[in-house]
């Protein structure tokens, strides 16, 4: 037993665990579906979905690192798509649609950040409240209608490499900011020990602002990619909000932030979670049960990878 614990402490172990999980998932579902999951169509599908999740996961890693959690990502993406769709309806301009979608995502996440800073409420609490607010906005604007973006527009966009370009550009910028600048180290220190961070002159407010700006860009891009992928706009939130959490832990980063945070964790994690979702659906598990299984995996991985957390927040935390 001690040996297993010792291995768990090794640095390389944490680095290869996510790859191991991803390969095992592929293997399991490869066998279960008799290899159908490796079809060109399916792989493509997985890759496209993973792209969206990966951008969003990289984005939230900036927030998680500081020890905060935002679960309103799904509804932010939903509202952004709704706004983008409406803009397209009235202007018929594709670039404008994508731009407005991205900016909406950016702004909405930063509204969360600002509310949290000015009202001095934990970002988690703000996110829970804002999630329902955004959902209400989406329903109010869209109603029960599903709006389709014309097929030729969507098809052109899907065939252009724009999503790949956006993804890699964002990944590279994020990795540089996160791992090769002062800001990245400071974010991790802030997530690890706020009082200690204070003694080395770290301005908490300014750093949180930076983290929300970096995250906001990612969420905006992720919303634009969602729009391109689905080609439809409705008031139903995608499951991205919980997907990013799962992708984060599957990628080997703690959602409680701190020293071990890394922003590229989400890339492998996103692939894993998409393979998991897709694989389970392919072998005939119903959507509701998939949610349940995801929940179990989530709690298991959090338990295995994190230190003991406070179970109930004390009133002084708010």
């Amino acid at each position: 037993m001690q040996r297993i614990i010792d291995i768990g402490r090794k640095r390389w172990f944490v680095e290869i665990l996510p790859v191991f999980i991803l390969l095992s998932l592929f293997l399991i579902f490869g066998i279960q579906t008799n290899g159908i999951i490796f079809n060109r169509g399916n792989l493509n599908n997985i890759l496209e979905q993973a792209l969206i999740t990966a951008i969003a996961t990289i984005a939230v890693s900036f927030i998680y690192t500081t020890g905060n959690i935002d679960i309103s990502i799904g509804s932010i993406i939903c509202v952004s798509c709704v706004v983008g769709g409406r803009i397209f309806e009235s202007t018929n301009s594709v670039p404008l649609m994508l731009l407005v979608t991205t900016i909406s995502g950016f702004l909405l996440l930063n509204i969360n950040g600002l509310l949290s800073t000015f009202l001095k409420i934990k970002p988690m609490v703000v996110a829970i409240v804002m999630m329902t607010v955004y959902q209400a906005i989406a329903t109010q604007v869209m109603g029960a209608v599903i709006m389709n973006i014309p097929f030729n527009v969507v098809n052109t966009l899907q065939e252009s490499p724009i999503r790949m370009v956006l993804f890699f550009a964002y990944l590279v910028v994020s990795v540089i900011v996160f791992h090769f600048t002062k800001v990245g180290r400071q974010l991790r220190l802030l997530g690890g020990n706020e009082r200690c961070a204070k003694t080395v002159g770290i301005n908490r407010g300014r750093l949180l602002l930076i983290s929300y700006i970096m995250a906001g860009i990612g969420i905006g891009l992720s919303a634009a990619c969602t729009l391109i992928r689905t080609g439809t706009v409705s008031s139903v939130s995608p499951t991205t909000g919980t997907d990013v959490m799962l992708a984060t832990v599957l990628g080997g980063m703690s959602i409680f932030g701190g020293h071990r945070s890394k922003c590229y964790a989400g890339v492998i994690g996103a692939l894993s979670i998409v393979v998991l979702n897709k694989g389970l659906l392919m072998i005939g598990v119903s959507n509701e049960i998939v949610q349940g299984i995801r929940g179990l995996i989530f709690i298991l991985i959090v338990y295995l990878t994190s230190e003991k957390q406070k179970t109930i927040p004390s009133r002084l935390d708010y």
Binding site: F180, R185, G192
Partner: protein, 500 residues
């Protein structure tokens, strides 16, 4: 001498942390009525032995016998129920609950009245418990976070004494206490021993150990190097056993080097919400300024306030050469000030991060190439400090949590030495640090002085202040009581009289 009954026996105890062997075949037995001292340098395994006995961590191999039966505690609670109580080195209280709740933690059911918790009864009992350990100045209703480190320790001691331990383990606690607190603790230890229990005292303060222990077990690098009876206590012998070589007696500075007249930091009548009243001081270039007093006197709070970590409601702290007011810690840090807190784990370290991340945290700007951080520069920057302070570790990526207390303190020290600060505030810089490292730290402090840096040492150890400082300010009840100069010779009696 008649052979007394053995209370606890430890046989061939080994403990590995990964590749590090913290303990190698340690064996000893503690008799009833004995105060056993475990002495050794940092990382010699003293705390590890203590924590294994009281169930905080399991041993890798070896056996223990408690009251004649084999002893394999699963956790600290089991140990407590069996009468083993331990006062730990770091904070062992919960900050956000009241003192009374801390004292009776895990035992609330005894205050149940018709299904409800009777707080009144609990506070009453808590007050009694506190009085038993000689604290009268705090209210049990107060949230524990309002207490300073020393009083939190005393609350912990009160809690442990509530269970009437047969075996009391005191791990490196006295260095966090003032003279008054120490006296209380020693009295408690003696009482436990006189009532047929035993005490294990873990420390590296030699004089304290020689005075209070009846038997000493000496550890070095996880190996037991000797056991001494009271009549064989001899300072030089023990020192030689501790470090494995001869040590020179005096490690303080003995020069009378003056300092310049230029004022670098000035506090103008500062008053804070708690404790500090109208405190003024001036720190000069190249000066080592000592601040001493009883732990209640507000000197730790003063350290906080000078670094901008405390809200100042009246008066101001100014960096004189630049004319900048220190309003918060960001300003202080940006203007080359450094601060080593007494609360090591809470304020000075990120315990889950590596040594590298911790040391680098004050020196990002020194390890950059353009806007980017350079891994090579960072590694060199940190390795230099690891070598200079001989921090015992596997490599610079080791997580700080797994280091011993003294090595943790070295990491904190390294953080500020490396980033080349102009003014540094050291609050109990040598808390929990052994003789060899102390000498090194004092040497470094002296080097800094010679380079024209200004240093404030806040300390409860009189010898440290007298040995190192150019000037000592003694505080009492949140005010500065008197100033002593090095040139006049620091008269110990006069200083102590001034403190009380």
């Amino acid at each position: 001498m008649e052979q007394k009954e053995v209370l606890i026996e430890v046989k061939d105890l080994c403990k590995n942390f990964g590749e590090t062997k913290a303990l190698r075949n340690v064996s000893f037995s503690v008799h009833k009525g004995e105060i056993r001292g475990l002495i050794g340098e940092n990382g010699s395994g003293k705390s590890t032995v203590a924590s294994i006995i009281c169930g905080i961590q399991p041993a890798t191999s070896g056996t223990m016998y408690y009251k004649g039966k084999e002893w394999t505690p699963k956790n600290a609670i089991e140990a407590q129920q069996s009468g083993i109580g331990m006062v730990v080195q770091e904070t062992g209280t919960i900050a956000n609950i009241s003192i009374a709740e801390n004292i009776f933690i895990g035992d609330y059911s005894r205050f149940k009245k018709r299904g409800f918790l009777s707080k009144k009864e609990m506070f009453l009992q808590a007050r009694k418990a506190l009085e038993d350990v000689g604290i009268t100045e705090v209210l049990p209703e107060m949230p524990t976070r309002l207490l300073d480190f020393q009083n939190r320790k005393m609350v912990e001691i009160a809690r442990i004494m509530k269970i009437n331990p047969e075996l009391l383990i005191v791990d490196e606690t006295t260095t966090a206490l003032s003279q008054h607190g120490r006296e209380i603790l020693y009295k408690i230890m003696r009482a436990v021993a006189d009532n047929g229990g035993s005490v294990i005292l873990v420390s590296h303060d030699l004089s304290e150990m020689m005075e209070h222990c009846s038997v000493l077990t000496v550890l070095r690098d996880g190996i037991m190097v000797g056991e001494l009876e009271k009549e064989d206590f001899e300072e030089q012998t023990i020192k030689r056993m501790l470090v494995g070589r001869e040590l020179e007696g005096n490690y303080y500075r003995n020069d009378m080097e003056p300092y310049s007249d230029e004022v670098v930091l000035r506090a103008d009548c500062i008053t804070t919400m708690e404790q500090l009243m109208n405190v003024s001081l001036e720190l000069h270039k190249g000066e080592i300024l000592g601040i001493g007093g009883l732990s209640e006197c507000g000197m730790h709070r003063l350290g906080h306030a000078l670094f901008g970590l405390e809200e100042i409601i009246d008066g101001a702290v100014t960096l004189v050469p630049k004319g900048i007011k220190v309003t918060d810690s960001e300003v202080a840090f940006d203007n080359k000030m450094g601060y080593v807190s007494k609360d090591r784990e809470g304020e000075s370290l990120e315990r889950n991060a590596s040594i590298l991340s911790n040391i680098i945290s004050a020196g990002y700007d020194l390890c950059r190439v353009g806007p980017f951080s350079s891994a090579r520069k960072e590694r060199e920057y940190v390795r230099k400090q690891i070598n200079q302070l001989s921090i015992k570790c596997v490599d610079e990526h080791q997580i700080v949590r797994y280091l011993s207390g003294g090595n943790k303190q070295k990491v904190v020290f390294a953080k500020w030495i490396a980033c080349d600060v102009e003014v540094v505030i050291l609050d109990c810089p040598t808390r929990g640090v052994d003789v060899g490292v102390k000498a090194q730290m004092y040497h470094l402090i002296n080097e800094m002085k010679k380079k024209g840096k200004s240093i404030i040492i806040i300390s409860e150890e009189m010898s440290e202040l007298r040995g190192m400082c150019d000037r000592i300010l003694i505080m009492r009840d949140g005010k500065i009581e008197r100033e002593f100069m090095r040139a006049d010779g620091f008269d110990e009696h006069e200083i102590i009289e001034c403190m009380i």
